[in-house]
Structures are given as C-alpha cells and as structure tokens.
C-alpha cells in the first residue's frame, strides 16, 4: 500500500472498549508509505478519510455490500474528513457522529487525484479486515419525553375505547 496510517485509542485490545456515538473520539493520523518509490504520489491531490464497516457488520445486510467497482461499493459510507494531500504530519480528531449506527468498523483513507478519482488507499486493518477493528455504539434516538408521550397516548386510546363501550351501553 502506498500509504499507511495508524489510530490512537485509549487501549488497543479489540472490543475491550466501545466508542459511543456523539461522545467519544477517534484520532486518525496518516502519511505516505516511504517503502514506495518517490514520485508514486505525484498525482495525489486530496485525501478522504472514511469510516468503514467490518465484514461482521456487513453480514445479511446487502445495503453495506463491498463491490469492486467503487461507484457501487457501500463499505465506507461515512465521511470523517477530507484534506489536501501532504506526505506527513497528517492528523485529525473526529467525534463519532450521532447518526453512526452500532457496528464493528475500521478506518480507510483514499488518495484522490485532480479528477477526484481514487488512486490509492490505506486502512488501519489488514487486507482480510480482521485486526484492529473497533466497536461503535449508536445513540438510541430515544428521549424521556418521547417515551412518556408514547405511553400516555397509548393509554389514552385504551381509555377512550372503554369510554366508547360505556357510552354505548348507556344508550
């Protein structure tokens, strides 16, 4: 891989922690992989860093399927950051957004040329997407006010029904 980067986490053991959407943060750093000859990166103009689903989170979910044709690929739908390309000293701290679903993830960075086409990439896991994965826990989207409204209106419906029967019996 022309490029590589690594992540900083509080701990490195898989799944001993869970990142909470809307609260926890990921710090991504990336640089050009010096083992490649100089000039390989001559057409890299921008870097797009994305949050991607690990295979376990793609299972039985065809809307997250990996396709070789990037246009149809749905592995990495969540954008973390886009930056102009530089060879080193790239870092970004991202708060996991509130609309990220629960799942197992990794991070991938694409290098794009001037025509906005992907020409290279790097990721924090291996080619089989087994190591260094991490878990994110989504927000529930629920609020106490919603819970209360939901239960109250439900009760209101049942009470109304009882009222209807009572009124009907009285006729």
């Amino acid at each position: 891989m022309p490029q590589s980067y690594h992540q900083n986490h509080p701990k490195q053991t898989a799944f001993s922690f869970v990142l909470k959407a809307g609260e926890d943060q990921i710090t991504v750093t990336w640089r050009f992989n010096q083992t490649y000859s100089a000039g390989t990166d001559s057409d890299y103009k921008t870097v797009k860093v994305k949050l991607c689903y690990a295979p376990i989170s793609q299972k039985d979910r065809s809307w997250r399927k990996t396709e070789d044709r990037l246009k149809k690929d749905k592995t990495c739908p969540h954008k973390i950051v886009a930056r102009p390309y530089t060879t080193s000293n790239n870092s970004f701290t991202w708060t996991v957004e509130k609309d990220i679903p629960s799942g197992v993830y990794f991070v991938r960075a694409y290098a794009l040329n001037a025509q906005d086409e992907e020409v290279a990439y790097g990721q924090n896991t291996d080619v089989h997407k087994v190591n260094n994965l991490f878990k994110i826990q989504a927000i529930t989207g629920r609020h106490v006010s919603l819970d209360v409204a939901s239960v109250c209106f439900s009760a209101f419906s049942i009470v109304s029904l009882a009222g209807f029967f009572y009124m009907e019996k009285r006729k």
Binding site: K59, D60, R61, S62, W63, K72, K98, D99, P101, S102, G103, A138, I139, T140, G141, R142, H143, L146, D147, A149, S150, V151, F153, S154, A155, F156, S157, I158, S160, L161, F164, F165, E168, K171
Partner: protein, 505 residues
C-alpha cells in the same frame, strides 16, 4: 333532494334514493349525506389511515435499520409479521361486525392498534420492531368492516362500486405512506433539527394521531345501518341479535367463501407482497436510487385510486346485463390476465419496460380485488361479516405464502420469484370455475330451474328462527338481489311460495 318512504309505520327521509332495506340505490361520491355517503367517507378514510400506519416503516427503513441494527432477515420477518396478524384479525372482525355492527367493531380495532403505532416510536431492538409491525398490522382488519359497512348501506346494484371505492381508496394508504412518511421525517429532521434516529420516531406519531382521530370520527359520526345502530335497533326489536355459533357455522360451511378466500390471496395477497418487495427489486436490478425506487413503489399502490374502484364499477356494470355470471366471468378473466402480467414482469430486462408492465399489472391485480368484492356480498346474507372476513383473511394468507415461498432467502432471485408468483396466480384462479349459485348459475352452468333467491338466502335460517321472524332482512335482500339474474332472467318465473302456482314477473 329525493325522499323515499317505506311502507312501515316508521317514516324516514333519506337524501339518496333507497330500496326496501333502506340501502342507497345510487352512489354520489361528492356527497356526505347521512347515513350512506357519510359511512362511505368515514370508512375509506379510517381504512386509509390503517394502511398508512401498517406500511409506515418501509419507506423509513434505511434509517430504522441503522438505528435498530436490523439485518435483512429481521426486515423480511417484520414485513411478513406486518401482514400475518390480519389473517385472523380479519375473520374476527367479520364476526364482530355480524354481532356488534361495523361502527363499534372498527372504531374498537382502530383504538386497540393505535398503541402499537405510538409505541413504535420507542422500539429499541429487532424483536421490538417485529412486535410493533405485527400488532400494527392487525389494523388492516378494518378492511372487513369497510366492506361490511358498504354492503349494509348500499343496494346490490351499486354495492360493487361502493366496495371498490372504499377498499381502493383505503389501499391507497399503502402508496401514500411511501410519500408521506419521508416528507414528515424530513420536516422533523431538517426543520426542527432532530437527529436522524430521533426524527423517525417522532414521525410515527403522525399516523398514530390520524388513526386515533378516525376512530373518534367513526364512533361519533357513523351509524351501522341506514335505520340506526345495532344497539338501538336490537332494543326496539327491529333487528334480531344473532347468535355467534349460527353465524359462524353458516359462513364456514359455505364453500364459496373458501374459494373466494383462496382467490383473493392471489390478487390482494400479491398486491401486499409487491408493496413489500418492489422498491428493493427496482433498486437492486436496475440500479435506480432509493428515492426513485420509492416513487415507483408508491405508484404501484397509488394506482388503487382508480383500479380497484374500476373493478367494482365494472362488476356492477356487467351485472346489469349478465347478472352474477357476468361478475364471475369478469373476475376470472381479469385475475388471469393479472397473473400473466406478473409472469411477464419478472422476465423483462429493461427499466422502462418493467415500469410499464408493473403499472398495467397493478391495474389488473387491483381491479381483480374490486371484482372479488362485487361477488362477496351475495355469498351469504346472514353471515356477510364472517364471509367478508374469511375472504379478507385469505388475502393476507396469500401475502404470507407468496413472501415465504418466493421472496425469502436466496432460493430464487427476485425476478424468478415474481414470474413464479404469476404462474401460481393463474393456477389458483382456476378454482373460480367451481363457484355456483343455484339461483343464478356459475361460469359454465346456468341456474337451476325453479330455484329462487329466497331458497338460497332463507336456507341460512332454521324453521324455528323463521317462526320468530328473525329472517326478515334476508327476505328483503332476496328481493333486492333479484337483479343478479341479469337482463335474461327478468322473465324467469318467481316463486313466492312453493305451494302456489308460479307467477310470471
């Protein structure tokens, strides 16, 4: 304004012209006159709201599936659950209508299922999602009360039209919801600023409120029969309170009810299945985006605006000339063509071709639904509700069967499933050949000589019951259904009493 008087001592004025049962003999769409047209508008609007609630989740699935971490299997199971609850609920509703009247029966069911819609807003797991879709789906039993109510309010010559319009405009909810829910969601997410996972939850309150409101409207503004509500009519003795076991017995022993239950599974059941799978089909096979796929899915359901009512109107039209035999033939032909088009749909490889075939297919399959309920009101008078419920329930069984056989797992590709479903439609529709009314005939056989409508409908009552006069409404219905003989039957002798010589009418 036309006034109609009956020959009894009670004097009632109706806006529409009525028959001897005070059922309207005309259908005026833009009127809200009590009791007939008001009942029509109350029933289609409330049924529409139930359809909106039952299919509120599919258009928002891209967000719900992320929030609740659903797999494709979870989604498929919830879709099946949504239509399976109504299988038994529809039969129960039919019974409730026969015993308590459509006004109480439908408003009760709508209020009982509204909590499932409210509680959808707090679902937190795949199993919770399945449960709320399952219980919300019970509300589709209001179809039965709709058809029962129309059959109670409208005379045989317009009953197909009334049933077709109320059923069709209710089914419209399944298409409208694909447009309404995303709109409500965007309003909440973009304008009020709620997060995605909160916005869809709040959105569900809209169909829930609508449903609750319609139950109130039915209870306070509706009435069961042209002459009043069951409770009042039973207290005054005008209506006899029937026995559940008798009503149920006469329904399940009538083979025509079972045949129509089967065939309805292959027009309405197929319609429900398509509602659940068509957006995904276009999205996956033709690579349209989700938004476009949703619009295509909506247009299938929205065809109900005219296609199901068209079926009902067609049924009444052919009955004028050819009577019940005309109704049966038209149903058979239209549903067969529907099956053929379904077979074709799976074979077409182009997007525009598929959309075109789908639209024509939607017209035929929905018209077949309307045509079915042009026949149902005549199968039984005493057990109209249970027969309607059995047929309606059979529709949902068809939806469960077709989804389980053809659209689950990876046994068949979606296009293979669609074509095979078309073949199954055609095979199952053949049983209409076996429907025979002794007083009117069937597809290939004419009526039995000397058999009258009274023979058929009064057979549902025992001699003891007849002695007590419980069967009066069946007598009136028999007279009013004479027109199902068609133009040819006008000169057939009508026997009012088997012992007296026949009188030529």
């Amino acid at each position: 304004m036309e006034i109609s008087q009956n020959s009894d001592t009670n004097y009632r004025k109706f806006v529409l012209p009525v028959d001897s049962e005070h059922k309207a003999t005309e259908f005026r769409l833009f009127s809200i006159a009590t009791p007939h047209m008001r009942a029509f508008h109350l029933s289609w609007i409330s049924f529409f709201s139930c359809f909106v609630s039952t299919f509120a989740a599919p258009p928002l699935l891209p967000i719900i599936r992320d929030n609740l971490d659903l797999t494709a299997t979870d989604i498929g199971n919830a879709g099946i659950a949504a239509v399976s609850g109504a299988v038994f609920a529809r039969v129960a509703m039919g019974t409730a209508c026969d015993l308590f009247g459509p006004r109480l029966a439908s408003s009760s069911l709508i209020l009982l299922t509204a909590p499932a819609v409210y509680l959808s807003a707090i679902a937190n797991s795949p199993s919770a999602f399945l449960m709320v879709r399952f219980f919300t789906g019970f509300s589709l039993a209001t179809f039965v009360s709709t058809q029962f109510w129309m059959s109670s309010m409208f005379s045989p010559n317009v009953v197909g039209t009334a049933n077709g319009l109320s059923g069709g405009w209710g089914n419209l909810g399944g298409g409208a919801t694909q447009l309404i829910m995303p709109l409500v969601y965007s309003l909440i997410h973009d304008n009020i600023g709620s997060t995605k996972f909160t916005a869809w939850r709040i959105a569900f309150f809209i169909p829930a409120f609508f449903q609750t409101l319609s139950a109130y409207a039915i209870f306070f503004l509706g009435q069961d029969m042209p002459d009043g509500n069951y409770v009042r009519l039973e207290k005054s003795g005008e209506k006899h309170k029937d026995s559940f076991s008798q009503v149920f017995y006469h329904a399940i022993t009538n083979y025509r009810g079972w045949i129509l239950a089967l065939t309805y599974g292959y027009c309405f059941g197929v319609e429900l299945t398509i509602d659940n799978i068509i957006a995904q089909y276009f999205y996956d096979r033709f690579n349209v985006n989700l938004h476009t796929a949703g619009i295509i899915a909506a247009s299938f359901g929205l065809a109900n605006l005219f296609s199901r009512p068209g079926g009902g109107i067609l049924s009444d039209l052919v009955a004028k000339r050819f009577g019940m035999r005309g109704r049966l033939w038209t149903l058979w032909v239209v549903q067969m063509i529907g099956g053929l088009l379904c077979l074709l749909l799976g074979k077409i490889g182009s997007l525009s071709g598929s959309v075109a075939v789908m639209l024509v297919f939607s017209v035929f399959v929905q018209a077949a639904c309307g045509l079915t309920f042009g026949v149902v009101p005549f199968v039984s008078r005493r057990s109209l509700g249970v027969i309607s419920g059995m047929t309606g329930g059979g529709g949902n069984v068809g939806a469960v069967l077709t989804q389980v056989i053809f659209f689950r797992g990876s046994r068949y590709s979606t296009e293979e499933g669609i074509s095979l479903m078309g073949v199954m439609i055609m095979c199952c529709t053949l049983v209409i050949l076996f429907i025979y009314f002794p007083q009117w005939g069937g597809l290939f056989c004419g009526p039995k000589k000397g058999v009258t409508e009274e023979d058929y409908y009064l057979a549902e009552w025992t001699a003891a019951e007849k002695e007590q006069g419980f069967h009066k409404m069946s007598i009136k219905f028999s007279e009013n259904s004479r027109r199902e003989r068609g133009k040819k039957g006008a000169s057939v002798p009508v026997l009012s009493d088997k012992d007296t010589p026949p009188t030529i009418v």
